[in-house]
């Protein structure tokens, strides 16, 4: 089995998906800039849809995985719209976009 076959097969897809998911988690935890956190979430959602798509092709050859990926994309877009509106609001209220300082609900 050559490298090309591996990379373009199921394992290659899952490998890229895993890397994206990991980097997404890292961005969510590590970034203090709220927009950076949002970018990390987008990476995570992309990783999830890669997994759905790859299993839909390499295991079932059915359309269902693609429908799930479609819904993931839709929800990601809605989530991005709301999240960015929240970030803008946060800035207007607290003059910051540091995710660590959005702690009004803590006390």
């Amino acid at each position: 089995m050559s490298f090309l076959d591996w990379a373009t097969g199921l394992h290659g897809y899952l490998f890229v998906g895993t890397i994206l998911a990991t980097l997404g988690i890292i961005a969510v935890v590590y970034r203090r800039n709220s927009i950076g956190v949002l970018l990390g979430i987008e990476l995570l959602l992309n990783a999830a849809s890669i997994n759905f798509i790859s299993f839909s092709k390499f295991r079932t050859a059915a359309i269902d995985g693609q429908i799930f990926a479609l819904f993931i994309i839709i929800i990601a877009a809605a989530e991005a719209a709301v999240a960015l509106a929240i970030i803008l609001r946060l800035y207007r209220l607290r003059e910051t976009i540091d995710a660590g300082e959005a702690n009004l609900m803590r006390n």
Binding site: I73, I74, A77, A78, A81, L88
Partner: protein, 135 residues
């Protein structure tokens, strides 16, 4: 079908290569001139540039972008459903397909109506409250 997508990818690759190619040719044949500080100033109609270019903008741009992304998603989702309508009519199931599709679009429309009524589609501040821009 495979060839189709591979060709489409080649289009992307070749048009992406075109830009560095043209800039590279230009770099080779043009005279090398050393720019001065005055020359590389940002253009503000001949005046000295004032402050940063990154000034604060009308937040309306952002509201429009939000409305756009929601509609974009809805339109993209409705495309595959639309491709079925013709065959649904041919099979005599046009009514059901019509209701399924236009229920979806009707909800989309209600979002537009909400934004319209609340004045989010007005570009000028206060236009929703009846303050008209100068004619």
């Amino acid at each position: 079908m495979e060839t189709g997508y591979i060709t489409a990818l080649w289009f992307i690759v070749i048009s992406a290569v075109t830009v560095p190619l043209m800039l590279g040719i230009g770099w080779l044949i043009r005279p090398k001139v050393k720019g001065s500080e005055l020359k590389s100033q940002a253009y503000e109609c001949g005046e000295q540039p004032v402050g940063e270019a990154w000034i604060k903008f009308n937040i309306r741009f952002y509201v429009v972008a939000i409305i756009f992304i929601i509609f974009d998603v809805e339109v993209a989702t409705v495309f595959p459903a639309m491709t079925l309508y013709k065959s649904a009519i041919a099979q005599g199931a046009g009514g059901i397909a019509f209701i399924k599709i236009f229920l979806f679009i009707g909800l989309l429309l209600s979002g537009l109506v909400y934004c319209w009524v609340r004045g989010d589609l007005e570009w000028i501040k206060g236009a929703a409250q009846g303050i008209k821009p100068r004619k």
